[in-house]
Structure formats: structure tokens, C-alpha cells
Assembly symmetry: C2
Homo-oligomer: 486 residues x 2
Amino acid sequence: MDISKKKSRPKAITPKGFRDNFHSYLKKREKVLQKVNRVYELYGFERLETPAVETVDALGKFLPDINRPNEGVFAWQDENESWLALRYDLTAPLARAFSQHRNTLHVPFKRYSFGPVWRNEKPGPDRFREFYQFDADIVGTSSFMADAEMCFIVFDVLKELGFSTSDYSTRISNRKILSGLFQAVKLEDATILSDIELVVFRAIDKLDRLGLEGVKNLLAKGRTDSSGDFTEGANLSAFQIDTIISFLKITNDDPYKTLEEMRYLIGGSEIGQQGISELSNITDTLLSKDIDSVSFKIDPSVVRGLAYYTGTVFETELSTATRSLGSISGGGRYDDLVSRFTGQKVPSTGVSIGIDRLVSYLYESDGDNEKGVVDVLVTVMDKNLMKHYIKIATEMRENGINTDLYVGNPKDFGKQMKYADLRGAAFAIVAGTNEIEADIVQIKDLKLGSKLADNISTNEEWKEQPAQFPVKREALTKKILELLKR
Amino acid sequence: MDISKKKSRPKAITPKGFRDNFHSYLKKREKVLQKVNRVYELYGFERLETPAVETVDALGKFLPDINRPNEGVFAWQDENESWLALRYDLTAPLARAFSQHRNTLHVPFKRYSFGPVWRNEKPGPDRFREFYQFDADIVGTSSFMADAEMCFIVFDVLKELGFSTSDYSTRISNRKILSGLFQAVKLEDATILSDIELVVFRAIDKLDRLGLEGVKNLLAKGRTDSSGDFTEGANLSAFQIDTIISFLKITNDDPYKTLEEMRYLIGGSEIGQQGISELSNITDTLLSKDIDSVSFKIDPSVVRGLAYYTGTVFETELSTATRSLGSISGGGRYDDLVSRFTGQKVPSTGVSIGIDRLVSYLYESDGDNEKGVVDVLVTVMDKNLMKHYIKIATEMRENGINTDLYVGNPKDFGKQMKYADLRGAAFAIVAGTNEIEADIVQIKDLKLGSKLADNISTNEEWKEQPAQFPVKREALTKKILELLKR
């Protein structure tokens, strides 16, 4: 190694697909998290937090995009050569945690959890590798009421965040109905998806992106994308393709009519009829609520990407008058995920709300209306008076006033004022030797100051409401508290 | 591959050194985080959140235990073969983030941040690989006032958490004084630690664990630990060892006396005298506050393990009447960490509070005094009446009552009551066909019920305060709100 070679500097950059979040965004996120949290607790869910890191074994392979390296997760080997990974969602860790602690947990176990999850996917402009989810799950019940409750929760969360039912719709279906359809068109007959069923399943999952024609091609011989890449199709027969496409095209305002048309297409399949019956029960339950608090649609084309779903599946799209946010929530029933660990069937259901898109939307549409942290800047006129400045700052803080004591180089007073401005401080406290000796301090009203600076013709106003004025030292905190309330 | 072989089940277990956290612990943590957050904002810090994942380059190699695989971090290669890692603290990512966004940030930049950090260290009973830190940092000032503020913040946080100055003490020193000492005993003369200095430095850092005798051995020929393993020593001369040991032994109630004795031992070293002068300024500043709000000690043996510190270093130990928690906070000045990225010197200082130990302590000493999530359980007497139960639950929730609607198998009513108990519900709502027809519901007072069950002699009381009583359906929510206030 050539040690004379200068050590190169590291790049000051987040890894691709990761980002930093700043104060006012985080304050907005905090508010959203609190509201979601409140709704989840109103429904009687309790919190459980699992670690960021799990064994790869425990996480399982349920991500849709399994052809990429590391199968969509960030994984590494520990010192004993066993594989660890960052969680890709909050559901797989819950199944592990419930199995681990099942002897001390009540059933049904209603838990909520929130935090970042990580996916080793190709990042895009609005697609990050670290994102925030807020989940609610019920472990240990097969009741359709539990599935319905997941939908109610999303409705209530969106209401709490200020959206109305016209802004969103939850599309609901059931994986069992898809299995029924596969039986009806005589694809292979298995409860676990066969290879060919998996290809068909993935084709259907791409409906949003490719449209009906694209899906049709994938069900037939295959499809060439815009870059010229060819994806091999499922090579189904014309009858099979037509039936599946007819199934996907079913749409009605009346959910019971949709259920009827689905029932017709899946014919005598027992598992399919079971799915229809479950979906019918959920429909009844959702419709039993006030019409102005629900917005849903039975939609056969909803399948959800994650492989662990076994029954009910749903996702919610949000689209306001000004902007379409796409899918902001999804979930469903995963009756076999816990039994991977325990061998015993523990039917479960859950929902996940994607926090980032909601926060970004609210942040942009509300404007950056979070006030800055700092109420008051205590400036430094003379380093030798630091003791006095500390006393002032301490007194302010003891009275709940967010106070910044200037710790930069105090020589340039203009710089201190500029700093106060950048931090959004409402007031600056100024005290030099003269003031300290006279037992007073100067208060600079920074908001008024900048208003007056913009509007210097109003000399009268200046006199009546001066942007800087002295107060007795002992009256300072009380005065600031008054001014802040103004 | 033998496909007849049964697929083995994954183990339901967190990776070694990781753990799950449950509701009441998390509620307690939430309260602690809020209090710390409040203090940081009172001091005018604003939040910045960096991702969990950084490039290994950006994180740098500053962990003390650099002889272990992966140098103490969890790291892996991404698809382009470049190394990524989980952050091991919140300071290195801050240096990266400040450098990345420096054109849009004000200086001094006061930021706080909290969240998990990860260390690939040997886990122990009270030593986890994922732990929570809450940091405050000021980037872009060399003022001793900034260092002092870090100490004030810790004092205020501990006060806010209910500790008194007799429960803790902050030990403060300065890396420059140590450099001065190295010059005085004629170890190599460099601003960056030489190999031999590094060995001496690590020996001193082990004082807590090994005692003076152990450190002495490491400064001399070496030390054999209890397992028989030998660690090669620094092979210093008797004069060098004696001087260093004398330095480490300096202790006085009067910080100025300690400073004087340190000054004497480092002799004419310029960097050492600079360290003394900085430490003296901080001492003046800390002593300018009310004596009942500060608790610190100048202690030459504080060095801190992380390699990025350049000046002031401090750590706070908490030891209440009932238990010693050890170090719960530490920090110091790192004037070269940002310049790794930018090439320009950006002096900075910061403090980190370890949240887990504090929460565990408060959780254990307060007892588990967090109330359960659920106020009311709506039981299911008859599945066909589900619509009515949903309506009741909805009404409760709209009135801010945390309400669990039973979603398990409703057949065994005793099981529902047991579930209500496990969830800590105060009341259960019971309504069968008779009640619904009569437009009433039964309220079961579960706390009173269990009290009465414990004390069945008081029949009179039972009559006056029955554990179950009917109310008109329309009066239900109002009644429950009243009862919950009781």
C-alpha cells in the first residue's frame, strides 16, 4: 500500500433510496402517527415493537419480487454464518414474536406497531428503500368481523386525518375466490400456488400497471415491454384467458351483484364458494355502519403482492380533488404465517398503513405550517456577561419558553440577528454592560421588526409599537410569556 | 435435493442480542422520550432524522472494539459491491448529513435525534445489539459554552425524569489534556494518536473495569486475565507509568484543585495547557448555575471509547439509593468529524443519552403502573346481533372510549370474561336478544366484580353497588363516561 497516497474523503451522501428527514416534516409525521395511534387504541389494540433485525429464516420468503439479489431484503451473515436481515414488513416479525411469546399472550391478540421497514428494491423518485408503516393485526381468530375491523380502522384513520369518504375507496377481494377461479379454468388444483398459478397470479397483480391488454398477453404467450425485454407468458388456452379476463372486468356499484357474478364464474369450486361467503359476510358488516363512514368496493382484481395472504385481501387508494396518492394502505388474512413456527393453525388478519405518502401529502397541502422550535434567542453582546445570559436562558426555559442561547462566534452582532431569523425566533434578548448595570434588558420583536422594515412609511406605528424596547430584568420572563400569547 | 424431506420449521426467536418490547414498557419509553424531547426543544434544538443505513465509508471507523469482525457494525455489500452498514451511533450520521445539506443549514446547527442504533458486539444479559439513543449536537462552534450546554441538558433531563443531583454525577475531562500528558512523558508527539498512544489510551479507558492495578499492568509488560489470556502491554518506563497513574489518581472535591494538579503533571505541553484552559472555562460556566441543579466532577480518567473525540469529553453515571445504573449518558467535542467530508474544519460537540437503561429503571422502580389499553369490552352473546355490537363499539369509540369488540369465538362466554380480565378492561357490555328487545344493555363492572368475588361476605354492599346492572341503551355511553371518570 502506498501510504504517501492521500486518503480520499468519504462522500457525504445517503445511500441510494435512503433520505434524511427534517424538523417540520418530522413534526407533521409525529402528528399523523399520534392520530393513527389514537384510532388503533380506540379499537383496543396494544403496542408491540419487534427489532429491526430478524433471522432470514423467521422472515420467510414472501416478497413479490423474488428474482432480485437477496430476494428483496437487506441481509448479511453474522459471526456464526447464519443469515440476518432487516425486516421488510411488520407482519412477518409479528408472526415470529407471537409464536415466541404465545404462552404469555392472550388470544385474540390485538397488536399495533409502527416504524421503518426496509426493502432492497430498485429506488425511484417516490420509492424509498426505508419507509414507515403503521400496522394493526389480530392474531388468533378466523372471524370475518376481525377483517371488517381492519377496514373500519382505515376508514377512521383517514377521517381523523381530515379526508372524506369521497377521497378514498377500499377495494376488497379474497384469495380463495382466485383459487376457485383457477379450479374453474382447470389450472392445477392445489391449496399452495403451483408454478403456473404463480405466473398467473403475478400477471393479475400487474393489472394496475399494465392494463387488461398487458395482463392478457402475460396470460397468453408473453409480453414485450417498452425496453424490448420479453416476459414469457403462462400460455393459457383462449377459454382460460377469457374467463380470467371476464373475472377481472367484473365491476358494479352494488357489491352483492359483483359477488353474484364472481360466484357464477368460479362455478362449483368449494374453496371459491367459501371465499365468496367470507366476502359476503364482510360486505354485510361494512354496510351495517353509517354510509358516510365507509367507502369500499368488491373488486376481483385485488390480489396483493405478498405471498402470505390466504383469504380476505384489501387495499385503499386515496385520491383527493388535487392529487392521486395511489395505494396508502393494504392488508388481509394470513392464516398460515404463525403455523410456520408453531405447526398449529393460528388464523390472523391485519392492515398496514403507509405513513410517508400521507405525511408528504399533508405536509405539501397544508404548507409548512409547523412553527420553528425557537421562541427566543438570547444574544451575546459581551462574552464576559455569559453568566447573565445563562441566567436569562435558564429562567426562560424553566417557564417553558424554548430558548436558544447564541453559541456561535458573538463578534458580529448582525450575524446573530440573521441566525435568530433563520431559526424563526419571535424575540431576541439583547443586554450589554449598560443594560446589565441598569438592571434592564432589551427585547427585539423580530416579526414586527421585519414587518416594519418592509413598510418604513409608518413612522407613527413605529413609535407606538417599537420593534425594540427595554424591560426591567425581573419583569422579562413575564413579559415574554405575555408577548408569546399575543 | 430430497423433496420428501419435511421442511424444517423456522425458530421463533429474536436474533441474539435483540428483543421485543411490549405495551407498558413502550408507554413508559414514550413518556421518557417526550420528556427528553421537551428539554432538548427548550434548549432550541431541532429534529433531524437520518436513515438506519449509511455507507460504511460515511460512518468511518471510530468504534473502540476494532478487533472484532466487521469492526463492531452490521455491514453488507449492496448490488454494486459497495458496503452499507447499520448506524452504530447518531453522531457519525449527523456529520454526514450536515456535510450533505450544509448549504441549506444555519450555523451553529443545533439538532436532536433519537432512535435505535446497532452494534455488532458480544451481547450480554444487559447488553443489547440494538439500543435507543437520544442525542443533541451543536455543529459549527468551538465555544466552550456549547460543551457546557451539553452538560446542562443532561442535568435538566435527569431532573425532568425525577432524579436529584445526589443521584448522578457528570465526570468531565478533555482529550487534549491526555495528549499533553503523553507529551509530558515523552510518548510520541503527534496530534493523531500513534499506535503506542492508542494502546495507552485503551488501557486508561479500561480503568472502570480493571482498576488501577490492571491499567498499570497494561501500561507495563501486559496483563493476564481471569481466563488466562494474556494482553501485551505498552512496555512503558517506570517514570512514564508512575506519571500516568498519578494523573489518573487525581481526585478532589474542588474542581480547580484538580485542574491545578493536572496542569502540574502535563508540564509545558501547549496542547495540554489548551485542554486545561477549555476545561477551566467549562467549570466556570457550570458553577455559574444554581448549585442544586448541577452535579459534576473534573476527572482525568474519563477518555470515552469513540475515537472521534478531540477535546472536552464527559459521561454521566446514575446511582440512586436503590440501584447503580452505571453510565447513562456521554459525549464530547469532535472537531474533525465533519471535515472528513468537507475538508473544512467544522468544530462540533454533542451528547447522547442512553434511553433503555433509564426506561428499564423507571419501569421497574415505578412498577408497571401503565393502565391497559382497553376501557370497555363489548361482548358477543349472539352472532346475529353483531350489527348492534358494532353500533355500540362505534358510539363508544366516537366518544373517546377505548373499546374492544370481542372477535374470538363467542361460544364460551366465560372465555370472553377471562379475555376482558387479561386485557384489563374496566367494564364489559353484555346484550342478548332480551336486552336488545327491551332496548337496554347490561354493564358489568369488572374491577368491582373481582373485588366482590374476593370479599363475598359483604352482601349489603353487593346490593348497593351491584357488579352488573342494566342501563337504557341510549344512556349507555354517557354512563360509561361517568363510570370511567369515577
